[in-house]
């Protein structure tokens, strides 16, 4: 996939160009493109003067980074302890079945991405599902359909 990499230089310019900025730069790239395109990783390595292997190592170590394009609608299921004991795994399974994908992947039509997240600190609303940054609390198994339709 070809990308408009013009936005990269703006991201690089936000930080001092050294190793310490690596994670911040990758986060901004992730925010911009919703994943880390290969070309962007290569450009990052070059600009920050960090070996490509190290960039890749960091990019695959941390959960926050994805390496494939993500869907229009990103559904994140909180699987923190509280959400778990209040049935988050059941909600997860529902969503997985409905979308026919496992958590951590994207539907083929690039409509939905299903992800899990370890606690978003909204435990009083458990179980919590976040759809494109909007929080849904006290989610029930039967809410799966509603979540998929939500904006």
């Amino acid at each position: 996939m070809k990308h408009n990499l013009d936005k990269l230089s703006a991201i690089f310019n936000r930080y001092p160009q050294n190793r310490e900025s690596l994670i911040a730069v990758l986060q901004d790239i992730q925010k911009e493109y919703h994943y880390l395109p290969e070309e962007a990783l290569q450009a990052t390595a070059k600009t920050l003067d960090v070996p490509l292997s190290k960039v890749f190592s960091v990019a695959t170590f941390y959960n926050a980074f994805s390496h494939y394009p993500r869907g229009e609608k990103i559904i994140r299921i909180c699987v923190g302890t509280t959400c778990h004991i209040r049935g988050a795994h059941l909600v997860q399974e529902q969503l997985e079945n409905r979308l026919n994908i496992k958590a951590g992947s994207t539907t083929k039509d690039l409509k939905y991405t299903l992800e899990t997240v370890n606690c978003v600190g909204a435990c009083s609303q458990a179980p919590v599902v976040i759809v494109n940054n909007k929080y849904y609390g006290h989610v029930k198994v039967s809410d799966a359909k509603k979540l998929l339709r939500s904006k």
């Binding site: 690596l22 941390y62 059941l90 606690c119 435990c123 009083s124 799966a144």
Partner: protein, 617 residues
């Protein structure tokens, strides 16, 4: 305005107080994580638009405060009206006009928004009278529900930066360390290492530079105290760090915030900019030759980065793999320089201790565990939220007095503290005083302060399996006992939960756990088996039920349960649609049946049944 000497800070403080005195009525809207998830932002916006449209004499937008977490998340979104302390719960956007019209303009109380005490079934007007609040001791969280999140004037009006001013003008670094040592403050991140001793060691190490790092990587699932502090009272964290920097001689500090907390990053960044602008951070603080800068370092989703050496690697832009700490990080930390690393709550305690004195602080709590501790009280407890209690408060007080007991009055089964490094304590430990040492002794740990209450519908094998699964995902993969050992422990718990385990497996798990504890490189592995060991210790019967009787008493482990519809079924058809595999059949007003072949035991029917007609066995 840039403050060039301590006197200017005092003048400014007085000016703010005078200005704020003029504001008679205040509306405090809680913008803590829980309330935001429940739509507090919409309420704020609505207040703003309504206040713009309707001019109310003596009341402007300035009196509207977007505060940090007020605590009682279960009842959110919360709106508090000062000076009376009038307390509205579960406020919706449509209530906003009513609140302005009735409570602001006409000083009337809106009954339907008041908190209803479930025990007495009476409405309570002021939050101070609610048991959830009255049993707490708020020290470090005191600002949270009261001041605007990123407003330095509010912070200064509440005695903010007085401690820093005192430190800079009248204390030597050694005296600061002595005060902290005397206060008995122990690290709030989990292990409880004496903060004063840590600072003293760091100060003694000769180096071209020292670092101060604030650990805001609150990774324990079920904990959000640090998030609430960073979002709701960022200046207290900055002030605490600045004092620490003064004490150990650091010029550069970092705050490591986990990426799941975007608002914390925004608020801290804002606070840093403001503090820099005012001369309370940066070069020549308050006109002295003491300089200290703080940089935010965002985590990227790795639980292991809560471990100090992994965190420091992450700050340096590397993979967050811990290193062996035979040489401690106070001696050789970030970039091999002496580094003080404390957690958010620890730093937030510092200005209060300096301001009010070590002996004042020491009197709170118990002799070896002074002060208070913030907890996020969550799970199957009635009143979930953010709380703060004096050290030594018993679990019973926390769960029953503050927490209001278990949801639906079900029996209490266990409380989990310390996250994936902690353990589950049973009912027999309810009178345990909550402090570092007692929890350790009981096989759990304080951790950063998540407290997850579990009822009889929670399966302890499932909890152990959950935590081990979590750790398998979060292990960095460097050392073998953690990478392979936890993986095998998880596999064994799966075996138990599927009813495939033998009695010998239990012993095998205990043995392997011991080896993982001895053999692992960092704290993640060394404490990883705790949830398993503590559940085996206190809930052995439940394991045996899975192993011997192939039965899950809590009705959670899917391989061992079946869903059946009993004669209580009214044939309402409510369960038919939610069933994802169409396993339920039945006609209206006739008893339904679950096809066991098709049933995936997802629990969807159980959740919707209003007649308790679905039996889990």
């Amino acid at each position: 305005m840039h403050l060039d000497n301590p006197q200017q800070l005092i003048d400014w403080h007085d000016k703010i107080i005078a200005k704020q005195k003029k504001i008679k009525k205040k509306i405090l809207v809680c913008c803590g994580p829980g309330c935001l998830a429940n739509g507090a932002q919409d309420i704020i916006d609505k207040f703003k638009t309504v206040l713009k449209e309707k001019k109310i004499s003596g009341f402007t937008v300035e009196a509207l405060k977007e505060t940090g977490c007020h605590g009682f998340c279960e009842q959110g979104p919360l709106v508090v009206m000062e000076p009376k302390g009038l307390y509205y719960t579960k406020v919706k956007v449509k209530d906003v006009e009513d609140i302005i019209e009735q409570s602001i303009k006409n000083d009337k109380i809106i009954d339907r928004l008041l908190y209803n005490d479930p025990q007495t079934d009476k409405k309570i007007e002021r939050y101070q009278d609610i048991k959830f609040y009255s049993h707490q001791k708020k020290v470090v969280l005191n600002n949270l529900g009261n001041i605007n999140q990123c407003n330095i004037e509010d912070y200064i009006a509440n005695d903010g930066y007085q401690a820093l001013s005192k430190v800079i003008t009248s204390m030597s670094p050694q005296k600061v360390i002595d005060t902290i040592t005397k206060s008995g403050l122990r690290g709030r991140g989990g292990a409880g290492f004496p903060t004063g001793r840590k600072w003293a060691t760091c100060r003694k190490v000769e180096s071209d530079t020292h670092y101060v790092i604030c650990n805001g990587d609150e990774g324990d699932p079920g904990a959000f105290m640090d998030r609430a502090l960073m979002e709701g009272d960022p200046f207290s964290v900055l002030e605490g760090m600045t004092i620490a920097a003064f004490a150990v001689g650091a010029k550069q500090g970092y705050i490591y915030v986990r990426e799941e907390y975007p608002l914390a990053v925004v608020n801290l960044q804002k606070a840093i900019e403001i503090a820099n602008e005012k001369g309370l951070l940066g070069d020549n603080i308050l006109g002295t030759d003491f300089s200290f800068n703080i940089k935010i370092s965002r985590g990227a989703g790795a639980f292991v980065c809560g471990e100090s050496s992994a965190l420091m690697k992450s700050v340096a832009g590397e993979v967050g793999e811990p290193r062996a700490k035979y040489v401690r990080s106070v001696v050789k930390g970030l970039y091999d320089r002496p580094t003080v690393l404390n957690n958010v709550e620890t730093f937030a305690n510092v200005p209060i201790i300096i301001r009010k004195g070590a002996s004042w602080y020491q009197k709170i709590g118990t002799p070896k565990n002074s002060g208070t501790k913030a907890f996020s009280l969550v799970g199957k407890v009635r009143n979930t939220g953010l709380i703060e209690v004096a050290m030594g408060t018993t679990l019973r007080e926390i769960i029953y007095d503050i927490g209001g007991g278990i949801i639906d009055d079900r029996p209490f089964k266990a409380v989990q503290t310390g996250g994936p490094s902690g353990g589950c304590l049973p009912a027999s430990k309810l009178d345990l005083p909550v402090d570092f040492d007692s929890l350790n002794e009981a096989g759990s740990m304080m951790g950063s302060g998540g407290m997850i209450v579990m009822d009889d519908l929670t399966c302890m094998v499932d909890v152990a399996k959950y935590f081990l699964g979590f750790l398998v995902n979060e292990s960095c993969g460097k050392c073998v006992p953690c990478r392979e050992g936890l993986y095998q422990l998880h596999a064994l718990t799966v075996k138990v939960s599927e009813g495939k385990a033998e009695e010998a497996d239990l012993e095998k798990m205990e043995k392997l756990s011991e080896m993982v504890i001895i053999g692992s490189l960092c704290g993640l592995g060394k404490s990883g088996p705790n949830p398993l060991l503590s559940t085996i210790k206190y809930f052995r019967d439940e394991y045996m039920a899975h192993i011997r009787d192939k039965r899950c008493p809590a009705g959670v482990c899917r391989a061992l349960i079946t869903y059946k519809i009993t004669d209580a079924c009214t044939g309402c058809m409510a369960c038919i649609a939610p069933c994802p595999t169409n396993a339920i059949t039945g006609k209206k007003n006739e008893m339904h049946v679950i096809d066991q072949e098709l049933c995936t035991k997802c629990g969807a029917c159980f959740a919707v049944c209003r007649y308790d007609a679905i039996l889990v066995s």
